[in-house]
Amino acid sequence: MNREKILKKYKPQAANLLGILHDIQNASAEQYLTDGDLRAVADFLKLSYSFVHGVATFYTMYSLKPRGKYLIRVCQSPPCHLLGSTTIARELMRLLGIGFGATTADKRFTLEMSSCLGVCGVAPAMMINDQVYGNLTTERIAEVIEGLRSGQ
């Protein structure tokens, strides 16, 4: 769905801002919001551009930078930390050759830190797009990344 169609779904009320931003970002192949998106939404809701920019940068789920096909969010919260999320984070950086907040050159993987994902029973955990991966070990991560690389 393109931006105009998404905007048409909504009433032009400020309370719809978060929902509109979610929808536009989800429809984007690179899972992000462009400057043009923010301006169009501001016009539609009769809000200032700076207000919309302020909202888009306040919430961690929105990105103003293009992201990869696979968005990897590694849980960093105390329960995952206790069970070794630091090792998991290091291993992911090593395997993908990028730091947190970055995207691989082939635009396939983006690595992000996340606050509690609410799946603490299987800590340490991460999410790749909508899928939860838990009870992570370095071996398991290698398997998962290899699987995604080979397109499984």
Partner: protein, 537 residues
């Protein structure tokens, strides 16, 4: 609708998914088809029961037997022995399911022993996406009771007040009073909001309620709206909880189609509409005024209180904001009465509490037990004790904005009052267990990092203070702390507690003070030797 002689329920959650529940489901279904049993036996996905670390769980109804740690190899035996011959397969770990929803669970059986479920009574025994099953198991009965018996809004509030129900989001404020304030506040336009922005690290109780019994929440919010005089409600669900959002939306649509929600609820003159608002990743939005700001489409910056939302909430109108678990208690209280509810739990904290047990325990997961259950029982009975036989060192109660307890407090009763007396908090009900190998300094570092990241940046004490505290804890962790660091740490935390605008900045003192108070030697060891001499008095 076709009738099946047996139902097989497979709880789906992150634990069972990791253990391969979908593969088991596919195998089971294809085996049943090849034996032409698919018209007799129905395989259903149910919500999580909260038993994580027990592999794939498979329960057989109406036999009330559940198998756990089920593997591919067990499928044929379960079909041939149990489903065809009616004999329980003794060689697969299994237990008989207790009636979790019974007023008091008498039978002490296995994994579900001694749990008492009010909030999560139906999750796991039905398909949460099927409203017929929900209605058949007593869903919406409390709402019907109110209209059939013509119970007035004031009488509903009086019953909730009498029940002694207190908010389960962490603060423990009496729910009936909150509703009364909202009802009595000036203005005709009022709102009810369900706070489902569950972000406290180590907490996933609200998610399991949303996924396991979304209709209960709709029923509760409709009752709340009737009581306070609201025509519109919002469920604010954190953006990361995709399945919760999908299930809740489905439930809302089903309820509307049956006239249980929307215009003229149950053909009365009462109308109530409910809408989901999706969060976008901000811990601070769990704070009620930040949540309201976010719902209005703004940055989630908390407001200065007072005025409180009960008089000046959403769009400055009177608003009651209730946590998911709090609301999930409402239908049972209305159906069974405040007197029944008061018999459960403690005098000052009636009812049950959902706890999430995590960390170095044998069985991490979720339980619902009476308020006042001792911490020792939660960790050692329900959590299965320490993993790998290690020694207990500490428990962090209530999430990141929580308190570190040492073994001297293992027998503390887990309710608002008793924990307060022991200078601890119940918070969201998260119990993070740490063994003897854990560095408290490292854990505190993780907590402070979390706070520094989640500070919304609106007020200076919190924005700057969390960064300063992070630097100090970081250098202590690296072994390069300076003399006076611990004093500075406590001073800064005190400044934040006194001057921050909202509970985020105000509560960082809890983990810091309890870590330094109960495990001070770990912090002094981490300072360099020379400076350690200065510190040890």
């Amino acid at each position: 609708m076709s009738i099946y002689r047996t139902h097989i329920l497979l709880p789906v959650d992150e634990g069972t998914v990791q253990a391969g529940v979908f593969q088991i489901k596919r195998l089971l279904e294809s085996e049943l088809r090849s034996r032409k049993l698919e018209d007799e036996i129905k395989v259903l996905e149910s919500a999580s029961v909260g038993l994580i670390g027990k592999g794939v769980i498979l329960s057989v109804y109406p036999d009330r037997i559940y198998y756990y740690q089920v593997t591919d190899r067990d499928i044929t035996r379960i079909i041939e022995e149990h489903l065809l011959k009616g004999r329980v397969v003794e060689s697969i770990p299994h237990e008989k399911l207790a009636d979790l929803a019974a007023a008091k669970v008498q039978n002490r059986v296995g994994l579900t022993r001694d749990q008492l479920r009010i909030v999560l009574d139906k999750a796991w025994t039905m398909d949460p996406e099927n409203i017929d099953e929900v209605l058949a198991s007593g869903g919406y009965a409390a709402l019907e009771k109110i209209f059939n018996e013509k119970i007035s809004p004031e009488a509903v509030i009086a019953e909730i007040k009498k029940s002694g129900l207190r908010g389960r989001g962490g603060a423990g404020f009496p729910t009936g009073m909150k509703w009364e304030f909202t009802r009595k506040a000036a203005g005709s336009e009022k709102y009810i909001i369900c706070n489902a922005d569950e972000g406290e690290p180590g907490t996933f109780k609200d998610r399991l309620i949303l996924e396991g019994d979304p209709h209960k929440l709709i029923e509760a919010m409709t009752i709340a709206a009737y009581a306070i005089g609201a025509a519109q409600g919002y469920v604010y669900i954190r953006g990361e909880y995709e399945l919760s959002i999908v299930r809740m939306q489905k439930a809302i649509d089903q309820a509307k189609a049956l006239g249980l929600l929307g215009k003229k609820v149950l053909e009365t003159s009462f109308s109530f509409d409910l809408e989901i608002k999706k969060g976008a990743g901000a811990y601070i939005c769990g704070e009620e005024t930040a949540l309201i700001e976010s719902l209005e489409g703004k940055r989630g910056n908390p407001r200065v209180k007072p005025p409180y939302p009960v008089s000046h909430g959403l769009w400055q109108k009177p608003t009651a904001v209730n946590n998911v678990e709090t609301l999930a208690n409402i239908p049972a209280i209305i159906s069974r009465g405040a007197d029944w509810f008061r018999k459960i739990g403690t005098d000052k904290c009636p009812g049950t509490k959902v706890f999430t047990i995590l960390g170095h325990v044998e069985y991490p997961g979720l339980i619902e037990v009476e308020m006042g259950t001792p911490l020792r029982e939660i960790i050692f009975s329900f959590g299965g004790g320490m993993k790998g036989g290690k020694k207990f060192k500490a428990a962090l109660l209530g999430g990141a904005a929580g308190v570190f307890l040492s073994d001297s407090l293992l027998d503390v009763k887990m309710d608002f009052e008793n924990l307060k007396e022991s200078k601890a908090v119940l918070g969201s009900g998260a119990v993070l267990v740490m063994n003897e190998d854990t560095s408290i300094v490292d854990m505190l570092f993780s907590i402070v990092k979390f706070f520094a990241h989640e500070s919304c940046g609106q007020c200076a004490p919190c924005r700057i203070g969390t960064q300063q505290i992070l630097q100090i804890v970081y250098r202590i962790r690296q072994g390069s702390g300076k003399a006076g660091d611990l004093e500075t740490l406590l001073n800064l935390a005190e400044v934040l507690a006194q001057s921050s605008l909202c509970p985020l900045g105000q509560s960082l003192i809890m983990p810091i003070k309890s870590a330094l108070g109960n495990f001070r030697e770990e912090f002094t060891v981490n300072l360099s030797n020379l400076k350690q001499i200065n510190l040890v008095k």
